[in-house]
């Protein structure tokens, strides 16, 4: 019987736990709300992970892990674009640019980060294909799942908390009018400053996240901190429809008359 279902009924934590305990070999395909992911396992250990549309070329993974410079990354992408990850890895090791350990550590960190992101997917369809593994030209790893599951569960709890605090990213932020609060006297991180610089009732939180290249969890974490500190408050974005409500009646006078009739009726109950 194929292992397939909906994340709403069977969470990523439960899936990883099952794969770990059953020491499964194969690939888990997940179709999330906006993205697709595939995660491969060998004997219950994480071997490979990829989110569709994301650049997972080895050179890019190494660049993100600060193992190669931006110039080296550009050069490799131009000159070795057709090379497989395995070929490129061998080339870089033989040229003494990096060690085999660097490659393995960078890929492991990348694969783990992909899986960690899956913990925030609460909606989606999944299926597990036994014995399907990534293409041969991809480098695979062997990462124990226990720590990933523990860290992921922690993240999931944080995610649930943040999502209940900030249920919609389509709201905007505005600075509070509290007297005596001066942002210059508040110690903010670089990331927080980046968000603060875009705070304006014209910008939704989603737009700020897109501009600052933060994912949903990161932007919620920062906005939550700013809200808790009383520096900002949620606001309806400017430019969206002004208050709209369904009052029968063709003219404003008819609508007002209707609301007044409702008021009159309720007073007499």
């Amino acid at each position: 019987m194929a292992l397939k279902g909906n994340l709403r009924d069977f969470t990523i934590t439960q899936l990883l736990n099952l794969i770990n305990l059953a020491r499964k070999t194969g690939t888990l395909f997940v179709q999330g709300p906006t993205e697709k992911a595939q995660v491969s396992f060998q004997d219950g250990k994480l071997a490979y992970a990829h989110i569709s549309g994301e650049d997972n070329f080895l050179a890019t993974v190494l660049y993100r892990a600060n193992k190669i410079t931006a110039a080296q990354h550009r050069t490799i992408k131009t000159r070795a674009a057709k090379m497989s990850d395995k070929e490129l890895g061998l080339l870089l090791i033989n040229a003494n640019y990096i060690t085999q350990q660097d490659i393995i550590a960078s890929l492991q960190a990348y694969f783990v980060s992909v899986v960690q992101r899956l913990f925030t997917w609460v909606e989606g369809i999944f299926y597990f294909e036994n014995d399907v593994l990534p293409p041969n030209d991809k480098i695979t790893t062997r990462v124990n799942l226990e720590n990933i599951i523990i860290e992921g569960s922690r993240k999931m709890r944080e995610w649930e908390h943040l999502q209940s605090e900030i249920p919609s990213l389509d709201m905007a932020l505005k600075f509070t009018d509290r007297p005596g609060v001066n942002l210059r006297n508040v110690s903010l991180s670089v990331e927080e400053w980046r968000v603060v610089s875009y705070i304006d009732p014209k910008n939704t939180i989603r737009q700020i996240a897109r501009t600052t290249q933060m994912n949903d969890l990161e932007i919620r974490r920062i906005v939550y901190g700013l809200l808790q500190a009383g520096l900002v408050e949620l606001a309806r974005p400017i430019g969206t429809a002004k208050l709209k409500f369904t009052v029968p009646g063709e003219t404003k006078e008819e609508q007002k008359s209707l609301v007044n009739r409702l008021i009159g009726r309720i007073r007499t109950i």
């Binding site: 709201m171 369904t246 007044n260 008021i263």
Partner: protein, 178 residues
Amino acid sequence: MQTVKIVVTGPFSAGKTEFIQSVSEIDVVSTERKITSEAERIKATTTVAMDFGRITVGDDLVLYLFGTPGQRRFDFMWEILSEGMLGFIVLIDSTRPETFREGRSILETFKAYAPTPYVVAANKQDLSDAWDLDDMRIALRLQDHVKLLPCVATDKETVKMVLLELLYSVLAEMGEGE
């Protein structure tokens, strides 16, 4: 026949069903189920789809009151219920601060669904362990212009007052829109 809809929302066990029952001229049509979650086992049943009450204004006009299900796993109903509403009331149990965060979250969700007028009603204000309105305003992070009204869901007069305040807000918004 014209119909107008007001939605009554709030956390689990805030008193939404009682609120509607207090003013509805019909027995509230309630879709309740036995509670399944241990954490929420402070009452025997919960609303899973909606409560439904009615106030007839005249031959040509009826006001419907819809109560949303309180448990979060039924929140897929909220967006459907909020469509076309005149405004909404967020009911919060003043004696259960552990539900304030959920109340805040529900308020933000509804504000995002439909930018309509709303008021917040602090229920069970007749009980000795009810929080003061000023403290609730801070805990719920309500701005000064948001109406936070004392209420006892089983007392018709306070329920009427909450409904009237919402309708006054609707009138005020209509005036501002001119």
